[in-house]
């Protein structure tokens, strides 16, 4: 009989039928459209704007007990710095304490009564800086800004004094010439947006596909499909097609938003960017399908997809926390998180303009991840009810 072979053979037409049906599902399901288009944009906006690690305009309180030209000079230097914004002028320690405790200010500078006199007479003078140390990272950063303001003033006083004694300004022994590469303005947004794209792609795609197989089990349509000649490969690949399209659309939207909304330049090759994204996408989508096929209910599948993709991609990919600062055990674990490679790839390509020459290990591992997940997804579908 001629049909014996064609039953087990792969038929593109059956794949196309599944893909067309899945497109219709997505286009008619407002929930899916929301996850597909609205959620990534919201995430980009929220994280892009809120998740800045830069410290600007630290709210500052100054208690100037000296009220001399010297003390006013110091205060004006704090006012002039873009890192500080003077919001309070307390008149007592009680007020200083209240402003710090109430969170209205993050830092207080206390200038002693004898400040002006001692500076004028060339003696060492203490300036007290009180900081709200709740957030250790931010405080450290703010303290270093304060230190540089104070040191700058202190140095100028010294230079002035020497000039008056010797008649000419002294040459400073060391001159630090600092230049930041890749992110010249040191804006954390430029660092965050590429990583964010990796996290968004992982979450959205896994969330979208996690529902697709589980829904068919829940509504009973899977039983009908199992009774037809449809093959697992045709079903899984057919389901991937529309979500892959949506994923690439999301990628395009994210890249455009990064470029024009956040002004993040892309220094590397656009072709490579989209090629590698496509590979990463196949892996992430397949992971979602795998979860969906195993969970068999939509609720369980979407919850599991969230935990299995978003959390590792967010916390362990190097997007939020530097992998080098993690405990050894966690560092080893991050090698299993595909987002780690995509984050590294995107940052390299966006910020440094690096290509395959430097990033091939990351790309290779993503290809491996994609292939493994795709195979696992296809094999996860058993054409049986038991």
């Amino acid at each position: 009989m001629s049909g014996a072979r064609s039953t087990t053979a792969f038929r593109p037409r059956r794949l196309a039928a599944v893909a067309r049906k899945e497109f219709i599902h997505v286009l008619r399901d407002p929930r899916a459209l929301g996850i597909a288009i609205v959620l990534p944009m919201i995430m980009l906006l929220i994280f892009g704007y809120a998740l800045t690690m830069d410290l600007d305009r630290v709210p500052l309180a100054v208690w100037d007990q000296s009220r001399t030209p010297q003390s006013r000079e110091l205060v004006s230097r704090f006012e002039g710095s873009r890192y500080f914004s003077l919001v309070a002028r307390p008149d007592s320690y009680r007020e200083v304490e209240a402003s710090l405790a109430g969170g209205r200010t993050m830092m207080a500078v206390v200038i002693p009564v004898e400040f002006g006199r001692r500076v004028a007479s060339g003696r060492t003078t203490a300036v007290q800086v009180l900081a709200d140390g709740s957030d250790a990272n931010t405080t450290t950063l703010a303290l270093s800004y304060a230190e540089s303001v104070v040191r700058g003033y202190s140095q100028e006083i010294l230079v002035e004094r020497i000039r008056r004694l010797t008649g000419r300004p002294p040459a400073l022994p060391l001159d630090l010439r600092f230049r930041s590469w890749f992110n010249t303005d040191m804006e954390s947004r430029i660092f965050i947006v590429p990583g964010l794209i990796a996290v968004i792609m992982m979450l959205i795609t896994a969330l979208l596909t996690s529902l697709t197989v589980a829904r068919e089990w829940e509504t009973g349509t899977m039983e009908q499909l199992v009774s037809t000649p449809l093959r697992g490969t045709e079903l899984i690949l057919g389901k991937l097609v529309p979500y892959f399209t949506i994923g690439m659309l999301d990628m395009l939207l994210s890249v455009l938003a990064g470029r024009f909304l956040f002004g993040v330049p892309i220094r590397g090759s656009l072709v490579l960017l989209f090629l590698v994204s496509a590979i990463y996408l196949v892996g992430a989508l397949s992971l979602g399908i795998l979860i969906s096929a195993k969970a068999k209910t939509q609720l369980l599948a979407s919850q599991f997809a969230f935990v299995a993709t978003f959390l590792p991609a967010f916390l362990l990919s190097g997007f939020m926390f530097d992998i080098r600062n993690m405990p050894k055990a966690l560092q080893v674990l991050t090698y299993l998180i595909p987002a780690r490679y995509f984050v590294a790839f995107l940052r390299g390509l966006y910020l440094k303009g690096t290509g395959l020459a430097q990033l091939w290990p990351e790309c290779l591992l993503m290809v491996l991840f994609g292939a493994l997940m795709l195979l696992a997804a296809i094999h996860s579908f058993r054409k049986r009810l038991d």
Partner: protein, 325 residues
């Protein structure tokens, strides 16, 4: 191209068995379904009807025994079988968010209906299901009976020679059910073998042949007429009284009555000898103060047959258990 021939049998089962852990859902069933007949698979809920039909359609693997469908082995040629059968599961299983036409197109693609036949088959389904005016309606908005017709149509798109229907009419009203059976007849007249499970007695009467399944076992096999004539060990006496409910207990206690059951306002009594029992029964009931109308032997309905067969089996099993203890 023709189906591989297995004589004239569309389905053959030999000691088919399916266990779920310790539970035996289908216990060594053997039967044969002839080509072109409407074969009814009758039994209460949980008797193993769906499990059997799923094994026949290649959805479940048997844990014992053998079987063929259209001459193909249900253990080793399951994917091949799927090309030659249409299956309608118990649950409505089309896509609610797709239109009528989109559902048809989808299954047409899945069953690889030749492109040249595609439009003709679609027209045939729309015509059969009487949905020509609703081809762009979302399937979810259709009434249950219409959905069922569409399901049937989608299962027939590839013109299978065998149709498996798992409780196709559960949850629809009797008129719709009757209309659905007209479609089944139409398929059968075109030479399609129909294997249908049901727990509705009146549907069983529509079948060419019946198998009664109870607790996973085959209890009886034959045409509806054969079952009524020969399988019934008991005769049935129909009694009408003024207060049937109260009279039931009195009647059941009369010597020679094996079983008594209410059928509407009548009492049906199972007995070995209806002629001898009738006068004694009338006397006993009248002495107890009931007004007795007619006492007559009747031809048993299928329901009588099944109640009788199942209760006989329960009695035998009960006796066996007592004996073992």
């Amino acid at each position: 191209m023709s189906l591989p021939s297995a004589g004239t049998s569309a389905v053959t089962l030999r000691d088919l068995e399916r266990k779920f852990g310790e539970f035996v859902a289908v216990n060594r069933i053997s039967l044969e379904v002839r080509q072109g007949e409407i074969f009814g698979f009758l039994g209460p809920n949980g008797a193993g009807k769906s499990t059997t039909i799923r094994m026949l359609c290649g959805l479940l693997e048997p844990t014992g025994g053998q079987g063929t469908v259209a001459g193909l082995d249900i253990r080793t040629q399951r994917e091949e079988i799927k090309r030659h059968i249409g299956y309608m599961s118990q649950k409505f299983s089309l896509y609610d968010d797709l239109t009528v036409e989109e559902n048809i197109d989808f299954f047409s693609g899945i069953y690889s209906v030749p492109r040249a036949r595609k439009e003709a088959r679609k027209a045939w389904v729309l015509d059969m299901a009487n949905l020509q005016d609703h081809r762009r309606t979302r399937t979810g908005l259709l009434p249950a009976g219409w959905k069922q017709r569409l399901s049937l149509g989608c299962a027939l798109l590839h013109e299978p020679r065998m149709l498996f229907l798992d409780e196709p009419t559960s949850g629809v009203d009797p008129l719709t059910r009757r209309a659905f059976w007209d479609l089944i007849y139409r398929m059968a007249s075109e030479g399609v073998t129909v294997f249908v499970t049901t727990h509705y007695m009146e549907e069983a009467e529509y079948c060419d042949r019946l198998a009664l399944i109870y607790r996973g076992e085959l209890v009886a096999l034959g045409t509806p007429a054969e079952m009524k004539d020969s399988l019934m060990a008991d005769q049935v006496l129909c009694v009408t009284t003024d207060r049937s409910h109260e009279a039931l207990g009195v009647a059941a206690a009369v010597a020679g009555v094996r079983d008594a059951a209410l059928f509407g306002r009548d009492i049906h009594l199972m007995t070995g000898d209806a002629e001898a029992l009738a006068p004694r029964l009338r006397r006993t009931l009248e002495e107890a103060g009931f007004q007795v109308g007619t006492v007559a032997r009747i031809t048993p309905s299928l329901e009588d047959v099944f109640v009788s067969l199942i209760e006989a089996r329960d009695r035998a099993e009960g006796a066996q258990k007592e004996f073992k203890v």
